[in-house]
């Protein structure tokens, strides 16, 4: 049966809410409104206001309350409306969620799941549309994942709830209408997936950029270049092994990352490949990232700021020419 990415996230949450009374959902407009992106539509009616809990616009307090409830044995899913808003809760994330286990000498654990939207492409300008996942991926003590497919949209919610540590799920908002089959992925939370096998160049990406990257691979195939596309899935920890296995075949790699170029995930991946697989490379690792501007509103400017299939194709052409 075909369902959307949005419905898949909801299905994961519904299963968790139904199966484990410790699970509850908390965030801005998750209940009566149905979720700012309609992800939690219907859950309030099904599970009631105690377990589908509308929170005031207090990101720091409700993310912190999620941490506290997790410390006390609950399994909260906290929804933050967008990654730009999540900056208001970074104190709780970095200073508490990520640090408490270590700082307490292993006494505490924070089985918290935080979901939020990320990414641009909807003309929402410079305060609703950035891809700041790398800030989370920088922090030891938390896990950061980015579902790019319909099965992962559901599966990652469930896997994150099974994890004893804080897991942050980044849902690129352009993916919500994406359709697909709901099938068990079978992959652990921290493993990358090969979404298209190929032998000439490795394209590593995640989240909202997967579709563009697969499109680029199709274009390249028409030009006789066989690209392998890797969906990183997990941003922390990074499954660099899977990328290196691919590079061992292809000897060329481009990382596609909607974050800003400087100090990006793509920068980290590129360097890890150089550190561990320098001899595998026929060409310096390349990256396609967002332009270094606050996201503009006007469509032609926003399009130009973001990675596109054309830019990916052109990066590959320069390597294989």
């Amino acid at each position: 049966m075909t369902i959307t990415y949005r419905e898949a996230v909801r299905a994961g949450m519904r299963e968790a809410l139904a199966g484990d009374e410790r699970v509850f959902l908390m965030g801005e407009d998750v209940g009566r409104y149905g979720g700012a992106f309609a992800v939690s539509m219907g859950l309030l009616e099904e599970f009631g206001p105690e377990r589908v809990r509308d929170a005031p616009l207090s990101e720091s307090a409700f993310v912190g309350a999620g941490i506290g409830a997790a410390l006390a044995g609950m399994r909260p899913i906290v929804e933050v409306m967008t990654i730009n808003f999540s900056m208001l809760a970074l104190d709780q994330v970095v200073n508490n969620a990520a640090a408490l286990r270590y700082m307490s000498g292993g006494q505490l654990s924070v089985p918290l799941v935080v979901r939020m939207t990320t990414g641009a492409g909807r003309q929402l300008a410079a305060q609703h549309a950035h891809s700041l996942e790398v800030w989370y991926a920088h922090v030891p003590g938390i896990k950061a994942v980015a579902p790019a497919t319909v099965p992962d949209a559901r599966g990652m919610v469930l896997a994150a709830l099974d994890d004893p540590d804080p897991v942050f799920i980044f849902e690129n908002a352009i993916l919500y209408p994406l359709e697909g089959e709901l099938e068990p992925d079978g992959l652990p939370l921290d493993r990358a997936a090969v979404r298209r096998a190929g032998s000439d160049v490795t394209l590593a990406t995640y989240g909202g950029s997967l579709g563009k990257t697969l499109d680029a691979a199709e274009t390249l195939a028409g030009e006789g270049v066989d690209a392998e596309v890797i969906d990183l899935r997990s941003l922390r920890p990074l499954d660099i092994e899977t990328v290196l296995e691919s590079v061992a075949k292809t000897h060329r790699v481009v990382t596609v990352d909607e974050g800003w170029r400087t100090a990006s995930l793509a920068a980290e991946i590129g360097l890890q490949i150089v550190e561990r697989g320098f001899d595998l490379l026929d060409w310096p690792p390349q990256r396609v990232c967002s332009a270094e501007v606050p996201m503009p509103y006007a469509k032609q400017l926003e399009d130009a700021a973001l990675p596109s299939a054309e830019r990916i194709v052109s990066a590959v052409r320069s390597m294989v020419a």
């Binding site: 307090a61 409700f62 508490n96």
Partner: protein
């Protein structure tokens, strides 16, 4: 003829009174020793002393039950000792030893002991408040009768997290007891220079949270007020705030030259020393004599010697374990 039993803290029972004094003395002597050990380089990092504020931690903790949950601040020695964390584990923690209460990972500002429901010292001012709200939320959702008591200072009440947490706790009627330790200075900034509204009862009322303000140098008043607050919270009336007006006799930390307040002011407050005041009161009421106090001092000195020995003898965590407990293994 019937005799009516006076409330516990009004007609002070001898045993309980001695317990309060003993607890305050333990904190005072522990911290004097910590300052000494800091000068010797045995304890490093930041060291924030609670000296002068002992009545707050001791009185409040006496009112709380062992099932209640505690969230403390970075000035947490007094809270931890009064809660019942072993003195040796605290000293060892400040030494950075593996037998410390946080395995030497936290130091002075981050004491933890889950077995005592002591959820830690939080060193981002105001950062513990949302955690307390969440602990209370979990208990409320499960219908547990526990209360989460959250300590914070006058620095925290101008943070956004204080506003957010008060609002959320009141909105959801959560069992949080807000314990406001107002020692008049956020590091070197006097409350008059940081708070537009100094009346916390008024501010709390703005969130729909009932509040009391009491003399934080009077351990009996502290315990009594905390009990009143707890009773309201346990009755399902939602959160409650108690403000303790207190003063730290020492500088903010060992690094603080204490230039922002006058010696006269400090000396005046020292006349309100919670231990000296309570000692005098007990003597006046005939509940304590010289011999009893001396015996108590000896007991504390012995406990302290043992704590220092425990810290001195404790092992260092091997460097191979550096990355242990970043995530669950």
């Amino acid at each position: 003829m019937t005799t009516k039993r006076a409330p516990r803290v009004q007609g002070l029972e001898c045993e309980h009174a001695r317990l309060l004094l003993h607890q305050m003395l333990r904190i005072r002597r522990f911290e004097e020793k910590a300052a000494e050990l800091y000068s010797l380089g045995k304890i490093r990092g930041f060291l924030h002393l609670y000296i002068g504020e002992e009545a707050v931690g001791v009185g409040a903790m006496q009112a709380l039950s062992e099932d209640d949950r505690i969230v403390a601040t970075y000035r947490d020695h007094g809270h931890a000792l009064a809660r019942g964390l072993p003195m040796g584990a605290l000293m060892a923690e400040m030494y950075g030893k593996a037998n410390g209460c946080s395995r030497g990972r936290g130091g002075s500002m981050h004491f933890f002991d889950v077995s005592q429901r002591f959820y830690g010292g939080y060193a981002i001012v105001g950062g513990g408040l949302p955690i307390a709200v969440g602990l209370a939320l979990a208990d409320a959702m499960r219908g547990e009768p526990f209360v989460t008591a959250c300590f914070f200072g006058d620095g925290a009440v101008v943070e956004g997290e204080f506003h957010e947490s008060m609002n959320l706790a009141a909105l959801w009627r959560l069992p949080v007891l807000f314990l406001y330790e107002n020692n008049l200075y956020a590091m070197g900034t006097a409350i008059e220079r940081s708070q537009a509204q100094l009346d916390m009862e008024l501010r709390a009322r703005g969130y729909g949270v009932p509040a009391q303000a009491v003399d934080g140098m009077d351990v009996v008043a502290v315990e009594e007020a905390t009990r009143r607050g707890l009773e309201a919270v346990r009755n399902g009336e939602g959160p409650h705030l108690v403000e303790f007006k207190t003063y730290r006799f020492r500088a903010h930390s060992m690094a603080d030259p204490d230039l922002y307040r006058t010696k006269d002011e400090v000396e005046q407050w020292k006349e309100q020393d919670p231990i000296a005041l309570f000692d005098a009161r007990l003597r006046k009421e005939g509940l304590l004599d010289d011999g009893a106090l001396e015996a108590m001092e000896r007991e504390v000195a012995d406990e302290l010697d043992a704590a220092v020995a425990f810290a001195e003898e404790g092992p260092w965590e091997p460097v191979e374990d550096l990355e242990r407990d970043v995530l669950t293994q």
